[in-house]
């Protein structure tokens, strides 16, 4: 591991993914990572062309939101975490908010050390799409049997080969993952259906393929034991559609110890 160039900070951030091509820097548009790096470079008054590299706990795709993304980077000087947070929130675009910062040891790595991740998927069940939720939920005005959906989700809990739930674009070899929480519920206003998944890792598009299939189960177009079948056949072509990105939120990343005081998703 490279020697860090300064003080290593871990930060809890949230963002509205709408204006971004995703978390990670890409050539084809604005990324969350680039926006944060730009603000860090300004804050540190770096010479043009130099950067402070930001590492994320994981990528989020274009349009995917985060309520509890964790990042780390090495900053050239020590700043009080509160001062750091205030300065960054002044500099960054308001689609990104830094909730908390803390100094970590130089061997801390936000991706390698992540133990579990938790995602939320929001579904707007209004008859007609709510204008104020159109960028933040999937609109799905068809009837959903929540009991059937929960029964199906129970089959996913535990350790399984999730090949049927993985984008064929992946190049990963080990497709076994463990899910600890898989829950569906209506929100208190009965306008949304909320799906939470927590596991030790997620394959590319895994949450969105689970949600896409789960909606077919909830509609009755697929049987309640569909997930059990998909876990057995291990074939992506058998799985349901990939639900769109704008209903998806990275809710929380878990480490051996709780890193932050603020916490969006405690069980």
């Amino acid at each position: 591991m490279d020697k860090p160039n300064g003080i290593r900070y871990a930060c809890l951030i949230e963002y509205d993914g709408t204006p971004y091509v995703g978390f990670q820097i890409q050539e084809n548009g604005r990324s969350v990572q680039a926006e944060i790096e730009k603000s860090l470079a300004r804050m540190a008054k770096l010479p043009k062309g130099e950067r402070i590299q930001v590492h994320g706990s994981g990528r989020t795709d274009s349009g995917v939101h985060a309520l509890g993304q964790v990042i780390h980077f090495d900053y050239p000087a020590y700043l009080e975490p509160d001062v750091f947070v205030r300065a960054m929130n002044t500099l960054m675009d308001r689609s990104i908010r830094m909730l908390e910062a803390r100094v970590v040891t130089e061997d801390f790595h936000v991706r390698y050390l992540a133990k579990e991740r938790e995602y939320l998927y929001r579904i707007d069940t209004s008859r007609y799409s709510d204008p104020f939720k159109r960028l933040y939920t999937l609109h799905h005005p068809y009837s959903l049997n929540i009991d059937h959906m929960q029964s199906a989700l129970n089959d996913l809990i535990g350790t399984h080969d999730f090949t049927s739930f993985c984008s064929s674009k992946t190049d990963k070899e080990n497709l076994e993952r463990t899910l600890y929480v898989a829950r569906v519920e209506r929100d208190f206003e009965n306008q949304e259906v909320l799906i939470r998944l927590r596991g030790n890792g997620f394959l590319y598009n895994m949450v969105r393929i689970i949600v896409g299939t789960l909606l077919q189960i909830g509609n009755g177009r697929k049987p309640v034991d569909e997930f059990r079948r998909l876990l057995q056949v291990k074939d992506r072509d058998e799985g349901g559609p990939t639900a769109p990105p704008h209903g998806l939120y990275l809710l929380k990343v878990y480490y051996d110890q709780e890193l932050f005081l603020e916490s969006e998703a405690d069980e």
Copy 2:
């Protein structure tokens, strides 16, 4: 009054004002009115260049939202109101939603017959701006004395000359209006301060100037009796700043009889 060219419909609509230059058609960008007229013309299969003119209960400025705007127009044929609503929600951009439609008599006019209007102003009081509320609230992280604000608002209730609260751009002669409700409260999550104003009419920018001044009162930068003073001096230059548009919502328009089953803002 012109003879209507068909069936007169009154509709309850809501919209996210972010992508629009305002409700009313203007040369410099997209308007809510133009978006609705475009969808009506498509639905009625009008020849190119013909339009079905939409009347709104009142204008909303660029960035101002509506949860209960009311419109009317004359449609060339009769359609079941539910069918009408479904078709329009399929055609219109998802930033606009039609909540309800009903057939009204040909002498109904959405603006001339409006008796009262109610507005909501949302203030995000988080320390750092919430990314998911940045387009839907004013961010104001300073301490606010809600009791002082409510005391001040009480002075506005009743019939007054609101010259001090009217944009100098107005050409109206009678600046007397009556306020029936003027209330401030924290939301149940204690993340927002919500201001509601209901009256028989509002001058141009009146709600936003009241809110801008009210924030100064809540901060302690202006005394609690500031509104009383402003009502007396009748001078726009003495009033506080105009609060930005994106915290403002047209909540409800009242007529002699309740027009719609759905209702966002019953007292």
